[in-house]
């Protein structure tokens, strides 16, 4: 006999109360019960990982900058001084414990081009020896030559097309905390031709007296040895310590004359003031081509001044001769310890045909202000404006000034 509907509903209600009541009561009467219910629900229905848009973007950037075993990377470097704004890219991959290999290409708005392969292998000899190798080709279509000596004027500018194919190996040994030895051997094949971008070209219009080595396309075995004391935290960025080193170069031409030797001496000192609130930085550099034969060194390999790392208000390659002297001083202040430096700077330099002509008289000089974005040991972007006797120059560089 069927049970009437209402009593049956009451029975069902009571039955449901008996079944669900304790659970509900438990959940509502105790805080622990509520939390356990939430944990049970999360276990049954795990929520998706939710990120805000800024979190996604920053995460992407961070992951892009994380070291990877291989991948593409942007390159902010120079093809050749005077190339103006240059951008490039590369593909690199890691090998071994610390080694890396990369293929790069760079192009500047002045049609300068570079392709190279590089390998860097640090960490040998318990971390004391770093090996480096590179091979490549570059072309500066509009390289400048203003003549020899400090008397060369801006209006005397001639141009040449500079091509270099090169392969070299470097080794850097740091046996102690401060001492550094470097050595390299490389093959450098130069091909110099007329530039099509200006009226006056070095090749064909200047004589060997005006431009030593004009018309020559030497192929050098270039050997270099350096010994120094380096107490900086890093050559790429430092607020303390110094570098005192000497380098000797030997250029042996495999296809003709123009063998020559050159020595360089460089001194850098950073003096921090008030816990690195300010830093006084000084640099002196002398380059000297050995011997008295004025014609043994091609004009495009003579010591030079002018550009973003020497006389910053002057255009690249502004002054060339057999010997050069550069002095630089910076007053730096540090808005951010890990990211940003500011500086006012003063540069003075001189070139001379004879070493005894290097003096503090008759120097070209400039001053300016700079903004540098840096990491703990590198300076990826240096923006400077400098003023000298020939006007104002803007510097965009991917390296430290010194």
């Amino acid at each position: 006999m069927p049970t009437p509907l209402i009593p049956r509903a009451i029975t069902a209600f009571l039955a449901a109360l008996c079944i669900l009541g304790p659970a509900i009561a438990s959940a509502q009467d105790t805080r622990e019960g509520i939390i356990i219910a939430q944990q049970t629900d999360k276990a049954a229905h795990p929520p998706p990982e939710t990120l805000t848009k800024p979190e996604i973007v920053v995460g992407y950037i961070g992951r892009f900058l994380q070291p990877k075993p291989r991948g593409f990377f942007p390159v902010f470097d120079s093809v050749y001084a005077g190339g103006s704004v240059t951008l490039g890219g590369g593909y690199g991959w890691a090998y071994g414990d610390k080694g890396s290999f990369a293929v790069r290409g760079l192009y500047s708005i002045k049609n300068y081009k570079l392709f190279d392969v590089l390998t860097n292998s640090p960490g040998h000899m318990n971390g004391h020896l770093t090996l480096f190798g590179t091979a490549g080709w570059r072309n500066a279509t509009d390289a400048a030559f203003y003549g020899l000596g400090m008397g060369a004027s801006l209006g005397d500018r001639s141009d040449f097309d500079f091509k270099e194919s090169y392969a070299r190996g470097n080794a850097e040994l740091r046996p102690g905390d401060w001492v550094v030895f470097k050595g390299s051997v490389g093959l450098e094949a130069y091909e110099i031709g007329p530039s099509g971008t200006h009226d006056q070209s070095v090749e064909g219009s200047l004589t060997p007296d005006q431009a030593p080595g004009v018309g020559a396309d030497p192929t050098y075995i270039h050997s270099r040895a350096t010994a120094g004391i380096d107490t900086r935290t890093s050559p790429g960025y430092s607020r303390s310590g110094g570098y005192y080193g000497a380098t000797i170069h030997n250029f042996t031409n495999t296809n003709g004359p123009y063998d020559f030797n050159r020595v360089e001496g460089e001194a850098i000192q950073h003096i921090p003031i008030l816990r690195e609130t300010w830093v006084l930085s000084f640099r002196g550099k002398v380059e000297s081509t050995l011997g008295n034969d004025m014609s043994d060194t091609p004009y495009f390999l003579l010591p030079s001044l002018g550009s973003g790392s020497s006389l910053r208000a002057y255009t690249s390659w502004r002054f060339r001769d057999r010997h050069s002297l550069l002095t630089q001083a910076e007053f730096r202040w540090i808005p951010n310890r890990l990211g940003m430096d500011m500086a006012v700077f003063y540069d003075a330099g001189k070139v001379a045909p004879r070493f005894d002509g290097l003096s503090f008289k008759g120097m070209a000089h400039d001053w300016g202000v700079g903004l540098r974005f840096h990491g703990p040991s590198f300076t990826p972007l240096r923006l400077e404006v400098a003023r000298g006797s020939e006007g104002v120059n803007f510097v965009f560089s991917g390296n430290a000034a010194f």
Binding site: I19, Q28, Q39, G62, K68, P69, A94
Partner: protein, 576 residues
């Protein structure tokens, strides 16, 4: 309808309908959300679900740093009351935190023992199983003669004892403060005491793992401080038990941990690290210095959260003395950066001029110019930025609870070579402790440890007890109410009493305090003081009548959403 549906189907529908009605019958109660449940206050945070399936997560350094520096991650709502606290404004024990100092009496022996359960690595030779590749401090992983795995970190060359002593001391302090810490010991060894396991590996790059060679260790020993007798002093930390599942973030929750319900930025136990970090100068608060481990207990798994690396403390780190600005500025902070930029550096920050008494074993650490409210770690963490005055008050109570004797005893475990260094570190910690107490305890009505018995409400004034402040010039005042737990309303004003001392007698006369079991009492306590206007804001204290006695069930210092944040600003803000 009755003709269409078969009886079985009809019965099922009826049952379902009845069930819905039954649930609905309870809904009002659930919706009413009792203020206090019968198990309040919770002494332990429930972790009921099995966490066996929690997977290893990796938090890369760079994205973590960028996120915390340039994007305020986590819940952006301001003044959110901590959500891992119980109804008496305390943090219950959990896989994150264990109540120790202040919550329970700790002896000097307790705090100096810290997390250490046994005498440390067994005597005998150590077998190296892996080279250390992360962090600045030189070190390696080894297995002792009992087969127990330990992580070994030595002092950096030129800075004897500073780094290892810092770890030894900090591990004990953070253990006493309530955090899960690695068993840690100081040890000395000679290179001749070491063997290399043939199966030992090294990962010179994240994606590369290979057999360990002797040469891998040469660099580590070259950069480590060698004692005069040729030995090396090291901090030795025991391998964390369980399945390691990576670090935790200071915001959000782990989606695969069912027990992880409270967003980490709203955990008081993590917010409080701002105060604890300020005390010991724990600068390096990145996710990479935390670690989660899945442990099995009684057949169920739960995730245990460790502050893994608290060695970046005091005045020296794994690579030598601290940077001058550490503790004073984030690595990127807009306001001082812009000021220095436009003033050519002449807008000086405190870190540029304060004097330090620098001893090599202590480094750059001082207490005279320390300001706990402006102290910041290298990188902001979401949890710090959400800390409110009640969180800081809670944390400051724990810092203040360390006695001088306890502080000096813990510092002694650093086994400093120079007694002056040990004394200096102890002096600085005591100074900084007192400054923290003076900074945070008076910010709110500083009354704690409430008890109601025999018609008398007793409590402590933390500001007088720990910060050396006098009793409030207006005395103590209590307004007594009967409280309806179901509606959350005060139903009857019982009366008001005052006292000059932290003890208040309940209003006498008719009708007096409720006497029935299950009754609730609310007392609004103030400590009016002319020098501290905030002390006139009441602390609301709730008691429940149980078995003829009053049990503390609720403490509210600062309501959810109420302004009350003395936390440092984000690095993107213009003002520090």
């Amino acid at each position: 309808m009755r003709r269409i549906l078969r009886p079985t189907v009809r019965a099922a529908l009826l049952t379902a309908a009845a069930a819905i009605v039954a649930v609905a019958a309870f809904a009002p109660l659930r919706g009413a959300s009792l203020k206090f449940y019968r198990d309040d206050p919770l002494a332990r945070e429930p972790e009921s679900a099995d966490a066996a399936h929690v997977a290893r997560q990796q938090i890369d350094l760079l994205p973590d740093l960028m996120l915390n520096l340039f994007v305020p991650p986590g819940d952006l709502e301001k003044n959110v009351r901590a959500r891992d606290i119980n109804t008496i404004d305390e943090v219950p024990d959990s896989s994150w935190f264990t109540n120790r100092i202040y919550a329970q009496p700790l002896t000097v022996e307790d705090v100096t023992r810290g997390p250490n359960a046994d005498p440390g690595p067994a005597p005998g030779r150590w077998t190296i199983t892996a080279a250390k590749v992360v962090g600045f401090a030189p070190g390696f992983t080894m297995r002792d003669s009992r087969g127990v795995t330990w992580f070994v970190e030595m002092d950096p060359k030129g800075y004897p004892h500073a780094s290892t002593a810092a770890v030894a001391v900090a591990v004990r302090l953070f253990w006493a403060l309530g955090y899960n810490q690695v068993e840690s010991y100081l040890a000395t060894f000679k290179r001749s005491d070491l063997d290399i396991d043939p199966k030992a590996t090294v990962s010179p790059r994240p994606w590369r793992k290979r057999a360990l060679r002797k040469s891998d260790l040469v660099r580590a020993f070259e950069t480590a401080q060698r004692e005069k007798d040729g030995s090396y002093r090291a901090f030795v930390g025991r391998l964390i038990p369980g399945k390691i599942v990576g670090p935790f973030k200071y915001f959000g929750t782990r989606v695969d941990d069912p027990n992880d319900l409270v967003p980490h930025e709203h955990r008081r136990s993590l917010r409080a690290l701002r105060v604890f970090g300020a005390w010991v100068n724990l600068n390096d608060m990145k996710a990479g210095n935390t670690l989660d481990s899945v442990v099995e207990e009684n057949g169920r798994h739960r995730v245990v959260h460790y502050l893994q690396d608290v060695g970046s403390t005091f005045g020296a780190g794994g690579a030598g003395p601290r940077e001058w600005d550490e503790g004073y500025e984030y690595v990127y902070q807009a306001s001082p950066m812009v000021k220095r930029l436009v003033t050519i550096g002449f807008d000086l920050s405190p870190w540029q001029t304060i004097p330090y008494k620098v001893l090599p074993e202590v480094g750059r650490f001082e207490g005279d110019h320390f300001d706990p409210e402006t102290w910041v770690p290298r990188i902001p963490t979401a949890a710090f930025l959400r800390a409110r005055d009640d969180d800081n008050f809670w944390a400051a109570l724990r810092v203040a609870a360390f006695t001088d004797e306890q502080v000096r005893a813990v510092v002694h475990t650093g086994e400093f070579e120079d007694p002056a260094a040990e004394k200096l570190l102890g002096d600085i910690l005591i100074k900084r402790r007192d400054k923290i107490a003076r900074a945070y305890l008076p910010k709110l009505t500083p009354l704690t440890r409430f008890a109601l018995a025999n018609g008398t409400l007793t409590f402590e004034n933390a500001a007088t007890q720990y910060a050396g402040l006098p009793e409030p010039d207006g005395g103590y005042r209590a307004e007594w109410f009967e409280f309806d737990n179901a509606t959350g309303a005060t139903t009857r004003v019982i009366g008001e009493t005052t006292s000059k001392t932290p003890s208040l007698v309940a209003p006498v006369g008719v009708p007096g305090l409720p006497a029935a079991d299950g009754a609730f009492l609310k007392v609004a306590l103030t400590a009016p003081d002319s020098k501290h206007p905030t002390w006139s804001h009441p602390v609301e204290v709730y008691f429940r009548r149980t078995a003829g006695a009053w049990t503390l069930v609720g403490v509210e210092r600062l309501a959810d959403g109420a302004p009350g944040s003395s936390s440092p600003s984000s690095p993107l803000n213009t003002e520090k």
